[in-house]
Assembly symmetry: C2
């Protein structure tokens, strides 16, 4: 508590970026407890449960007309952001949750605009969020690659909350799905460009399109000018983030911004 | 927020006294906002509402056998600690709340022990808590003085949350009720002996008995060795305080400790 209060006292300001303070918080906890990956077991459990659901979800996407598949894959990917992985009768819950998601759909829906940017040879950087959820991201990556895009998937470079690492990408089959897997080069929450690896920075600066999954990537990428079009795909799970994108809490967002955009 | 975080980072420790940190918090807010008494309007409203209820509560006490009156007055005084002063139909609510209080009674009830300490010429220091509530404390003070005790009532020496000040003691008639009124000499939450006036300290050290009302007085007096028997009269309104006296939350406490006691 003392270490966290001292850090907060030093770092907090009206311009502070919560996710960056969150990274510092996590590093203090890791250092003081000696536990480098406090979410390790939770991430494994989430991966296992998500993998159990994956075949049914894949069938769901492939059972609908091709023109609707990207939207459905994106919805399922948002679903991965909110489900409880330890619900016993998960199949019923997935169906209910999917039905619920589908009936609500996206509060902001730029997926038709996104489709216009897709095509043969288009290079995409896909920034993942949590373990477990990364299994569902495979469905989006698959649809993008079916349209001829080359997708580089980025996971975190070190333990960061319950975010996906290389080992999670491997466990859920994302390594086989994506054209290429890289890491951010950092354990920072979201994306902290000042800590990113040169491999990540080269990809970030050269791709035609970025797909940014989850709230933490929104919270951090909005600190920079968009280096190319960015599709922000997330669910508004807290008031400050919901307010920042001017929607209520608990909504699905698919917001496409242009190169040069800044919040 | 920055000023509060810096204060917390400096002051927090496993041995920190929450009420003393609370005093520092309030002083920072008073200094930065330039508002020396942020609870002024709330206190006035609480005094007015409590005064409206006072005649009925006095009748209630005087309608029961004398041997039970002190217990009833103490219960009503605890009630003052929890009622919502802005409930429109307050009479119905008081009756319901009193019935509820009476049926639950005291989780710790040392009132019979307290009675044994009362008698002609016994000097008592009564430490008040909130404005509004101080009107109900009159009923306890009245009962004590009927037994021949001389009661000195202490209010805070300066604005401290919604605690009663001299002006509140005057508004609710406590100045006429008590044998003597003093202040703690400080705006500290609860009792901070290092900030107390010499008048307060002389009374604190010389009386035969202290009656300490409310959680903040419990939180702070427990830092010192009891200078005489102390009757702690409060309701457990938060988990840490409830845990410190080993009762559940939401209970009425009338705990008598001996001279020399320390938590």
């Amino acid at each position: 508590m003392i270490a966290l209060l001292k850090m907060m006292a030093n770092e907090y300001s009206p311009k502070a970026v919560p996710a960056l303070i969150g990274s510092q918080r996590d590093r203090i906890i890791q250092n003081l407890t000696g536990c480098s990956d406090p979410y390790y077991q939770l991430k494994n459990k989430a991966n296992e449960k998500a993998l159990e659901m994956f075949p049914d979800l894949l069938k769901k996407v492939e059972s609908i007309p091709p023109s609707n598949r990207l939207r459905m894959a994106c919805l399922i990917s948002c679903l991965g952001n909110i489900i409880e992985y330890d619900v016993p009768n998960h199949n019923a819950d997935i169906d209910a949750a999917l039905w619920e998601l589908d009936s609500h759909g996206f509060q902001i829906n730029d997926i038709d605009e996104l489709k216009k940017l897709m095509g043969n040879g288009v290079e995409i950087l896909y920034l993942t969020d949590n373990a477990g959820e990364i299994a569902f991201d495979r469905l989006v990556v698959q649809e993008l690659q079916r349209q001829g895009c080359a997708v580089t998937v980025a996971v975190k470079g070190g333990p960061s909350l319950n975010d996906a690492l290389l080992e999670d990408a491997e466990k859920v089959g994302m390594i086989d799905e994506a054209n290429r897997i890289i890491t951010t080069g950092s354990s920072a929450v979201g994306v902290n460009l000042s800590e990113a690896s040169s491999e990540f920075m080269e990809t970030y600066r050269s791709v035609d399109l970025i797909i940014s999954k989850g709230m933490a990537n929104w919270e951090t990428l909005t600190e920079y000018e968009a280096p190319c079009p960015i599709m922000f795909l997330f669910r508004t799970k807290c008031e400050p983030v919901a307010a920042s994108i001017k929607t209520p809490i608990g909504k699905n967002i698919a917001k496409l911004v242009k190169k040069g955009w800044k919040l």
